[in-house]
């Protein structure tokens, strides 16, 4: 489903990696590992199409992601190290707005349910600027609860989460893999994902 061929990444004067390739099928998870600055986030940004690779190609369902454009992005859910939530809006408004802008149908009940699952029940009407770092991260993660797009690309999803939330997120990701979804993620803490095939790619 998701194939990468001979990717090369050059940032500034430095070549971070070259000749990198992988092939990911439905129900598989790709863990990207490597020290800081090895190019994990750059590789993720290549996969989502924000950073064009120096050489090589990434294909989704056999089509180059550069030529399929909107079609590819309709299958993609990306969660970066920034939360992409607005401090002035409430968690509920944030969730609805981001679904709306990404062209997803999300009802208010579903959104409330998702917020309850991430442990933000009772805070849905509080502006996000009054939430803690971990709570803001949970608002961002709440998107994943009702997310049914096949390809998830997650940059350090476990950062700033407490132990219970890490388990919860691992559960959400394995449910996604069981539904036949794909996931690519970077992380420094290896968290066991109960379902699906886990593959590892070390950047060095």
């Amino acid at each position: 489903m998701l194939e990468a061929d001979n990717l090369e990444c050059v940032r500034g004067e430095r070549r971070l990696f070259a000749g990198l390739g992988f092939n990911l099928e439905a129900g598989e998870l790709l863990y990207l590992q490597g020290r800081n600055g090895a190019g994990k986030t750059s590789l993720l940004r290549m996969i989502i199409g924000l950073l064009p690779p120096e050489t090589g190609e990434i294909r989704w369902k056999g089509k180059s992601i550069r030529s399929s454009g909107d079609e590819f992005r309709a299958d993609l859910c990306y969660l970066g190290h920034l939360n992409a939530i607005k401090e002035e809006l409430t968690p509920l408004e944030n969730l609805l707005a981001s679904a709306h802008l990404a062209d997803e149908a999300l009802s208010e009940d579903d959104a409330l349910d998702a917020l309850e699952q991430v442990g933000l029940a009772g805070r849905e009407d509080l502006a996000c600027k009054y939430l803690s770092q971990g709570q803001k991260r949970r608002v961002a993660l709440a998107r994943l609860v009702k997310e049914r797009r096949p390809l998830w690309v997650l940059d350090e999803p476990f950062v700033a989460l407490d132990v219970a939330a890490v388990d919860w997120l691992a559960g959400i990701i394995s449910a996604h893999l069981q539904r036949g979804g794909l996931a690519v993620m970077t992380t420094h803490q290896l968290v066991a994902i109960p379902a699906g095939t886990v593959r590892e790619l070390k950047l060095s």
Partner: protein, 222 residues
């Protein structure tokens, strides 16, 4: 297509309403700059009438500039811009929505308050009407052209000054025809020609600017 534009406009307006200080400060800047001129020049109605269109338009350009640096910067800082770029529609449509929302909170209030300020300059009713119409027609072009500058300077240190240097020269045609419309009305020639040109500039910039901005934003996101 319309749905995504409306979604962006709705979101940006909601954010602007939660942050009213920004709208109000740009508006007060406009009011104060314009009001300084009659105070500085003194009670000479003929001179004031002559100066009015230029002063109001220059103040409108500067007031629009005030809110431009934040047009994309806030979304860029909190990661929302990435999500917008990854949404399954062309980024140009998203930018169109942002430009419209920017105009609604920066250009429209200027047009609404301009006739009140025009009274300080002893403008006739006709001239006030044309002034309002000209600002109403011209400010969307300012938001559109400004979006290109804001996208090009996104993420640069000291981007605000660079933004002014980039964008203000491009505002000159709008300034000339905007002030020209009022001048022509005052001198009895009729400002229709100028207003038509302003409308043409607005449509051209609303059609073209979002796509140029989108291209610049993609480079900024790499």
């Amino acid at each position: 297509m319309l749905k995504i534009i409306l979604a962006v406009v709705g979101r940006d307006l909601k954010l602007a309403m939660r942050r009213q200080a920004d709208i109000v400060s740009a508006l007060f800047f406009f009011v104060i700059v314009v009001s300084l001129f009659p105070l500085g020049i003194g009670p000479e109605p003929d001179l004031l009438r002559k100066l009015a269109p230029g002063v109001l338009w220059v103040a409108a350009l500067l007031a629009t500039m005030l809110s431009l640096p934040r047009l994309f910067a806030d979304d860029h800082r909190d990661g929302t811009l990435e999500q917008l770029a990854l949404a399954p529609h062309p980024l140009g449509l998203v930018v169109t929505g942002k430009v419209i929302a920017h105009w609604l909170v920066s250009g429209l209030p200027l047009a609404l308050i301009a006739p009140v300020l025009g009274i300080q300059f002893d403008l006739s009713t006709d001239a006030l009407l044309v002034l309002t119409g000209a600002i109403l027609l011209g400010t969307p072009a300012l938001s559109g052209i400004g979006a290109i500058g804001a996208a090009l300077t996104l993420g640069l240190r000291g981007g605000g000054v660079l933004l002014s240097l980039l964008v203000l020269p491009l505002y000159i045609p709008v300034l000339i025809f905007g002030a020209g419309a009022v001048d022509a009305t005052v001198s009895g020639l009729g400002g229709e020609g100028h207003l038509s040109l302003l409308a043409a500039m607005t449509f051209a910039s609303l059609g073209f600017a979002p796509w140029a901005s989108a291209a610049a934003l993609k480079i900024a996101l790499e």
